[in-house]
Amino acid sequence: MNPDYIAVVINSTIRMTMPVLFVALGSAICNKVNVFNLALEGQMLVGAFSAIAINFFTGSLVLSVLGAALAGMIIALIVAVIQIKFAGQDMVVGTSVNILALGGTSFLLYILFNTKGYFTDPSMSGLTKISIPVIRRIPFLKTIFGDLTFVDYLAIVIAVLMFFYLYKTVSGFRLQSVGINKKAAESCGINGTGIQMAAVLCSGILCGLGGALLTLGQVTLFIENITAGRGFIAMAAAMLGNSHPLGVMAASFFFGFAEAVGTMMQNTAIKGQLTLAFPYIVTIITLVLSSGKVRRRKKVKVYKKV
């Protein structure tokens, strides 16, 4: 296998990873405050749609990205209010919000652009690709870091920042304490519900950014249900990485790799429809392989108690 091909695979992996990484970080921060947020998929989908819509109407990339983050946050606000404030059942809220996002984006697609299925327009431009001066001169690295946008790099930056916030700051520890024991944290004067809601809002922003990257990153296009289960793959990544930002990043890269391989296989003897199923199968197998041990340990604990 020649180095060029490897570089292309790595580049493709990075591009596939970043949207999922945003959402996985969002999932991780919800896990950290012990909120089961199932609506990540919907938040991402709305972000993806808003990015395209704002891009089309204003032509401004900055506004599109900010607007996507804001839209994701608004959807997250619904989740936060109903699920945390009004103690709605997490499964019901999450599923309803996901369906609302799916129906709502398809609805708006028809209202705003008078089309069904997908929307793209030559007047729109995708996020600007960044080329780093030194790397640009080295052929191998040039391919690896080629075609990446500002938002792609932002994902890594946020992951690292989140690590420092959660594990190196007082506020981060407070946030974690809410997840470990909300009542105990509240007895120390921490606003548990407020922190939980803030965390869900953060996940909304992150999902919105991930969605914007999906529709404005590699392609400039919105397709109905473009997220296609990525929110759930991201949840798997957050679980796999044990909600630790850097672990989540590693897990996301793994799933990104699976998606990249799936895309690459389209050029081989295996038919396209089957390769599309590949990332989902890999996700399930990975969850099985990684959580086998966890389960056994838990069982022993239960028996000891009895």
Binding site: M91, S96, V97, I99, L287
Partner: protein, 371 residues
């Protein structure tokens, strides 16, 4: 505790509770329609006229009502599938995948096995049921054996089922006759179709709806009178207690998921054997039968009879929505938005809160005193 709320509500035999329970979905539906009305008004359409068109399209004449029932049939099956799994605390959101597996298996059996007539129909329905049940069982087994969250695997398996089925339709099972734009399988021989009921001239309603109603009755019986029904309810309410009480959780879980998957799959099988008579690409995902069934079950608070009623109501909104799309600028997707808003409002239990605010305040005070 949060997990049980949805399942536990309404086990107190209290008239006021029942009224509140009944008012809850009704108010939520009205509120959902109200929000939908705001959206329609923002589009510059006449809200009242739009809703009249919509409800006339769903329930306005015997013929329209028959179309609604035809559409409701697979939705009811998926709703019942959700009832079985969710009340046992198993959040199966893979109804769509199970439905696809059931439908494609039935079509494959009906088209490629040299069988015919009513036996052929029964065999292909059975094949669909078993395939869908096993598909759901796989997810349940992964949770029981490896602790992989069921709700993630079932959802991801929707996409796997969809892509693999698309592959089957595009290559091995493709029907080369007819126009090349629509991807579809070979047609099912007419002798194997589920017979039509012919209550109204020209309606497509078939006996699938009868099977759905019979299964609803069976489900009520199972829930109330059998050990499995009791065990699954207790497991949903309080898994720890169920384990302590000696309920074999793994066995219960596998069984509940198999039944849940089988019900969803039967919905898919009946749709192809009764209505479409072939598998068309995307026929199950684009109609979002499974998600509508899920919402119907949630609106009904996992009550089987309520699920049937809600399924018919939501199906009516959808058939009406299709008519709306033809006559106004309002797209069909408005129905999905309204449905999702209804379930969201239901999940927050806003109206229960409103109606029993007084008693809740009292409770809070008591709780405050004990803490």
């Amino acid at each position: 505790m949060k997990k049980c709320e949805i399942i536990s509500a309404g086990h107190k035999l209290n008239v006021k509770n029942y009224i509140v329970k009944l008012l809850q979905p009704i108010f939520s539906i009205l509120a959902g329609l109200f929000v939908g009305g705001i959206i329609i008004a923002l589009m510059g359409e006449n809200v009242i006229d739009t809703y009249i068109t919509m409800f006339r399209g769903g329930f306005g004449s015997p013929y329209y009502f028959m179309s609604t029932l035809t559409r409701a049939t697979p939705i009811i099956f998926c709703g019942l599938g959700v009832v079985v799994s969710w009340r046992a605390g198993l959040f199966n959101i893979g109804g769509e995948g199970q439905m696809i597996v059931g439908a494609i298996t039935s079509v494959a059996v009906a088209v490629y096995l040299p069988i015919d007539g009513i036996t052929g129909l029964l065999i292909s329905l059975m094949a669909g049921i078993v395939a869908g049940g096993l598909y759901a069982l796989l997810a349940a087994w992964l949770e029981a054996r490896f602790g992989v969250l069921l709700l993630i695997t079932t959802l991801l398996m929707n996409y796997i089922a969809d892509y693999v089925t698309t592959y089957l339709l595009v290559y091995p099972m493709r029907n080369t006759e007819g126009d090349a734009i629509v991807v579809r399988s070979e047609a099912i021989p007419e002798s194997m179709w589920i017979p039509r009921m012919n209550l109204v001239n020209g309606s497509t309603l078939h006996y699938g709806i009868v099977i759905a109603l019979v299964l609803t009755a069976a489900l009520i019986f199972i829930n109330r009178k059998t050990v499995f029904g009791y065990e699954s309810r207790i497991s949903g309410l309080n898994p720890g207690f169920a384990e302590y009480g000696g309920i074999k959780q793994t066995k219960m879980m596998l069984m509940a998921m198999f039944i849940s998957g089988a019900l969803c799959a039967l919905g898919g099988s009946i749709e192809v054997m009764g209505t479409k008579h072939a598998y068309y690409g995307g026929m199950i995902t684009s109609t979002s039968f499974a998600w509508t069934g899920l919402m119907a079950a949630l609106v009904a608070d996992l009550n089987p009879v309520g699920t049937v009623i809600c399924s018919i109501f939501l199906a009516g909104i959808q058939t009406g929505g299709a008519m709306l799309e033809r006559s106004t600028n309002v797209p069909l997707e408005i129905t999905m938005v309204i449905q999702a808003i209804i379930t969201l409002l239901i999940s927050a239990k806003f109206f229960v809160r409103f109606l029993s605010r007084h008693s809740e305040r009292k409770k809070e005070k008591e709780e405050g005193a004990t803490v």
